[in-house]
């Protein structure tokens, strides 16, 4: 009997009440994703929700483009640039695509060097990734400025269907925001790597989690490039 009471008391002590209890109930001893740090699992779940946001944007773009009776502006011509007297269709967008893919490559290598605990190389590659991201945003600013000067507005444009402007600014704007946030996160984590924050714990998962976010930004661009610019 006495033994039972002691055991009961021990159990009560092991299961805390209140907010701590709520956090423990949802986390302790209930591991679904084995060998995956919780931060990484949470990043994946965030990316899943972000996938739905971009899917809904692209689906609404599809709906308005299919249902308009006015001709859709030809993206190949709208985004063409004249370089040295020759007009290249969609060239700026192609360059932006290559820049973002390159940034994904440097990011993947940064994750690798992080787990090898080569701090200098990891931070350098992350900063290169951030620089590519900044270049991308810079080119997007150029693209927006060019289109706004040509009279493209969210409510109309001189080339065709009015919905072109609203979907363009919404989709590329939201993606550009993601890139900008990514550049900030990359810079912060790179500085933390340099300072040796992860050296103390020996855990470089933060670099991989940042990498997941960055690759997702590249992934979304693959879909925007294909469905908005090439279609």
């Amino acid at each position: 009997m006495a033994y039972e009471t002691v055991k009961g008391a021990e159990q009560a002590a092991a299961v805390p009440a209140g907010w701590q209890g709520l956090a423990d109930d949802w986390s302790a001893d209930r591991q679904v994703f084995k060998n995956v740090p919780w931060g990484k699992a949470m990043m994946w779940i965030f990316l899943l929700s972000d996938t739905f946001i971009f899917s809904i944007f692209l689906t609404s773009y599809m709906t308005v483009r299919m249902s308009t009776t006015v001709a859709w502006p030809n993206p190949s011509e709208v985004f063409a640039l004249t370089i040295g007297g020759t007009e290249f269709p969609l060239i700026l967008i192609a360059i932006m695509t290559f820049i973002l893919i390159s940034s994904s490559g440097t990011m993947a290598m940064a994750v690798n060097f992080g787990y090898r605990r080569e701090r200098g190389k990891t931070a350098a590659l992350m900063l290169v990734t951030a620089f590519f991201g900044l270049t991308f945003v810079g080119m997007q600013v150029f693209e927006w400025t060019k289109l706004i000067e040509e009279g493209v507005r969210p409510w109309g444009n001189p080339m065709g269907a009015a919905q072109f402007g609203s979907t363009f600014f919404m989709i590329t704007g939201f993606h550009g925001l993601h890139v900008s946030v990514g550049v900030i996160i990359l810079t912060i984590v790179a500085l933390k790597v340099l300072r040796g924050d992860y050296e103390r714990s020996g855990n470089y998962a933060a670099v991989e989690i940042t990498g997941l976010y960055w690759h997702f930004v590249d992934l979304v661009w693959v879909f925007i490039f294909a469905l908005f610019y090439l279609w």
């Binding site: 779940i45 689906t59 599809m62 299919m66 290598m109 998962a205 294909a226």
Partner: protein, 107 residues
Amino acid sequence: MAHAKGQQHPISIYLAIWGLLFVLSTMSYLVDYFGFQSYLRWSLILLFMLLKAGLIVSFFMHMRWERLALRCAILAPPIAVLVLVGLMTLEANYTLLTRLVFFAKDF
């Protein structure tokens, strides 16, 4: 085990995927450059898009080395988007038809 210490793979894999992504991007740009139209254009665009997305998710985001529990939890839900796309296709066609019948006198 490699997983316990995080994702650790040879750099050469990343470089190979990087190169493939460059080739696929160039090919999708060439679809526009050569001015392919209609079903040939759309199928090529979708093919290159899905190949690129697959390479990024499976190699750069390490999905192919994750356990099935995580892969299913993340990759299965987006399939629901296809239902939305299907419904909105019906809706868009209906809207277009209504507009043509009632509003667009010039068409």
